[in-house]
């Protein structure tokens, strides 16, 4: 029986996914509204975009947020990848359960709680050691903490799928485990690492709650600024800003996805080619008959 894809299914999908996009489309439409009354159409205009450029606070905040996101994503991608390797490759080690629990918990833990908890720690550290002052670095650490979770989950599933026999083959040919990992497995999991970084970057760029707890008096990230304006109601300048952010992120994600798919396709083609070349005289693989324990003495 072939799975049917009926008109009803198409209707459900159009409606369901369409509804997700309606508010965003409305927002983009309103950003070109000449009238300062957001809900009253006053003709097409790009006046709010030019206003944006003269909004110094906003530009400063945007720059700060980009810097924070850059640092947080880079820390998260390194630590998250290490955690994923540890969880997938090392079956038993003391603290394994703790690590896997701590890695997944921030995915669901409400940020208000983690924010307060981390702030309390920083405040008393500051009281005892006169360090760290709340600001750039405290925000970066808070963001990195929840971003690690996303990186680990992404890399973990990719590592599960990666063929470990290739790495074993490299080691049989004399490469050390580190070398084999860097030459063989790292390129295989690179797409997951890249998307982990991108996801962390956007999550950090968007974060309001953690930043509010971590920010010092002079650090105002972009979401904090947006929130304080939006709290007062709809604002045409924010509509323009939101449109820019949404379009930039959307385009970035689609481009990254497309590039990764192309790299993937090329990789698959190469693997296919290699298999075809190898297929000719098939030598029986003796390794399959040798118990694993004998194969890799450790």
């Amino acid at each position: 029986m072939r799975r049917q894809f009926s008109a009803l299914h198409v209707a459900i999908l159009c409606l369901g996914i369409g509804v997700l996009y309606v508010p965003i489309v409305v927002l983009i439409g309103y950003s070109f509204n000449a009238s300062p009354m957001v809900n009253v159409w006053g003709g097409f205009s790009t006046i709010w975009y030019s206003r944006l450029l003269h909004h110094q606070n906003l530009l400063d905040s945007a720059l700060l947020s980009l810097e924070v996101a850059m640092c947080a994503a880079s820390i998260a991608v390194v630590l998250g990848t290490l955690a994923a390797i540890a969880l997938v490759r090392f079956a038993r080690f003391p603290g394994r359960f703790l690590l896997s629990a701590m890695v997944t918990a921030p995915l669901v833990m409400p940020e208000v709680i983690t924010g307060i908890a981390l702030l309390l720690l920083f405040v008393s550290l500051l009281h005892t050691f006169s360090w760290p002052h709340r600001g750039f670095f405290t925000i970066v650490f808070a963001h990195a903490t929840f971003c690690i979770a996303y990186v680990t989950v992404t890399v973990q599933s990719r590592l599960h799928g990666a063929d470990q026999s290739l790495e074993e083959a490299a080691m049989d040919l004399g490469a050390g485990p580190g070398r084999a990992f860097i030459d063989i497995t790292l390129p295989l999991i690179a797409p997951a690492i890249i998307s982990g970084w991108l996801l962390s970057f956007t999550l950090s760029l968007d974060d309001l709650v953690s930043s509010s707890f971590m920010a010092g008096p002079s650090t105002n990230t972009l979401p904090m600024l947006i929130y304080s304006k939006v709290k007062l109601g709809l604002s045409p300048v924010i509509n323009a800003l939101a449109t820019l952010i949404i379009v930039a992120v959307g385009a970035g994600v689609i481009c990254a996805g497309w590039m990764m798919r192309r790299a993937e396709a090329r990789h698959e083609l190469e693997m296919h080619e290699a298999e075809r070349l190898n297929a000719a005289p098939r030598v029986p693989d003796l390794r399959e008959r040798v118990p694993r324990a004998v194969r890799s003495p450790s």
């Binding site: 369901g16 208000v112 949404i246």
Partner: protein, 296 residues
Amino acid sequence: MNRTRHARRWLIILPPLLFLLIFFLVPFFYTLKISFAESVIRIPPFTDIFTRTADHRLHLTLDLNNFRRLFTEEVYGLAYLFSLRTAFFSTLTCLLLGYPIAYAMSRAPRATQKVLLLAIILPFWTSFLLRVYALEAVIQNDGILNMLLLRLGLISHPLVIMHTNLAIYIGIVYSYLPYMVLPLFATLQKLDPALLEAASDLGSPPWRAFLDITLPLSLPGIIAGSMLVFIPAVGEFVIPSLLGGPGNLMIGRVLWDEFFTNHDWPVASAVAIAFVVLLVGPIAIYQYFSARHLES
């Protein structure tokens, strides 16, 4: 050889382990400690539960007042109940809306599935804050929704949705729907069509096959998706504070106010600790199912 391999292992394990210990786990114990302190006016604004007496002995003073207040002051109980109820009904709505979407997606041709998946994931990448803000333009009194309904003659006066509890529900369902659809789709897609075929060969009508086969087999997806919506929804801050009414009692907001407006850190810590205790069950369920999902 064994030694160096062992050492190298720890080079991989230790950095993330230590980082998460310091920035994730230790803060919780610290919050627990402060929840037993008394609020005082100084910096930091709470007493130390460990004090040294003149003869250098360590004294531990545990003040249970903050926890007692959680039970005696009505506002906290109401806030927990309201948050749990809101999260529960939003999760249910997400499930009822998300299941048909995920189901239809799993039936789509493979090439279409990729596009649909991207369409579901894309809002997840775009700013959460901005999506909630965008919703405001739709559900306002003079927003698109009311304009449409008035034009169609379905209503004679604009519906007041903004700043009500309904707005919070709409906000949560709208923002978290992708979190429900993705795990559901993942389980439904793996479903073996041969099972449904067998059921229909044995004379089972489609609705029966759905109840007996599809629904039970998609249970892990249902649970994972529900937890993925429920847990963050309980602690949601942005949605109730932007869309909800001024006095709504979502626990995330109560915590925020306790912290930033009342500056009562020990009580805020107690609220947070009680909150974590409340969420341990759902989080454990989620962990269990996501771990099983990763292994398969």
